[in-house]
Symmetry: C2
Subunit: 160 residues, 2 copies
């Protein structure tokens, strides 16, 4: 079985929204045996399509109220790796990407409040050697957030 079929797609649709949904119930929904569900999920894991299951934590509820994307400009492009190492040490930075465009790096920060965000940027990020400056895009609100579409995937081969 080396292609991604309807059953894989349906299982994926269900477990990515509820990773604790009983396999037996998925089986019932799809009218297949629960051992097949088990086999398919095993295959999806082996192929790297799915990794682990994670509980979604509401950051606000544990005290992080300020979400912000931040673009980082470097003094010189070759500082990139060192700067990434420096950023990694700041726990409030949850994501870090190399990007095209006006910035060399693009990060996601969750801070307690705006004051805390300012402190992280001015006292920590700006002091990393190689950082020329930052631009913050503070998120006032998240309008929506959703997983990738899976239509048009059935009957395809696995990628990569």
């Amino acid at each position: 079985m080396n292609h991604f079929d309807y059953i894989d797609q349906q299982i994926l649709l269900q477990i990515r929204e509820d990773a604790r949904k009983p396999f037996s119930q998925i089986a019932e929904d799809l009218k297949i045996s629960n051992s097949l569900v088990h086999q398919r999920i095993k295959k999806l894991k082996k192929k790297g399509v799915i990794d682990n299951a994670e509980f979604v934590v509401n950051e606000r509820k544990i005290g992080y109220r300020t979400k912000s994307y931040v673009g980082i400009r470097l003094r010189e492009a070759r500082y990139a790796e060192e700067v990434v190492e420096g950023l990694k040490k700041i726990p409030e930075i949850l994501e870090c990407n190399y990007v095209s465009g006006n910035y060399a790096l693009f990060i996601l920060i969750f801070a307690v409040d705006n004051h805390h965000l300012r402190e992280i940027l001015y006292e920590q990020v700006h002091r990393i050697d190689g950082v020329a400056g930052t631009d913050s895009f503070i998120c006032f609100d998240t309008n929506f957030r959703r997983p990738v579409a899976l239509d048009s995937l059935a009957k395809q081969d696995f990628y990569e």
Copy 2:
């Protein structure tokens, strides 16, 4: 029990990385009964600290190779809501935020490739009434990605 204690913290640390970890094993690790694990997780859900469990899907493996953050400028600020509605209809847009700074909206796109990204922006986003322009920050690579820190949370009250 109206505060967030050491047990809550430890449970949270474990399940957010592995939502399918057996409660009985968590109980064993923390040397508590598994019914307590059950009670605490129930409480964390009720308080809204955790929501559902999700399987992490590797977007690349299902054919989405281009990840990009995109800042959107509006012709006039009052178009914001309409534009959000328009963006919602484009399935490749996985996240949409109201932000401070140079852009009104900030979105996350997963496209098949750069060509597909261009098409989404030029044929779809730019045609939404109210959109003045966009700036793309294509992610060449994600250096790291991690959940929020939980230190300093134990013995705190729940937020909100």
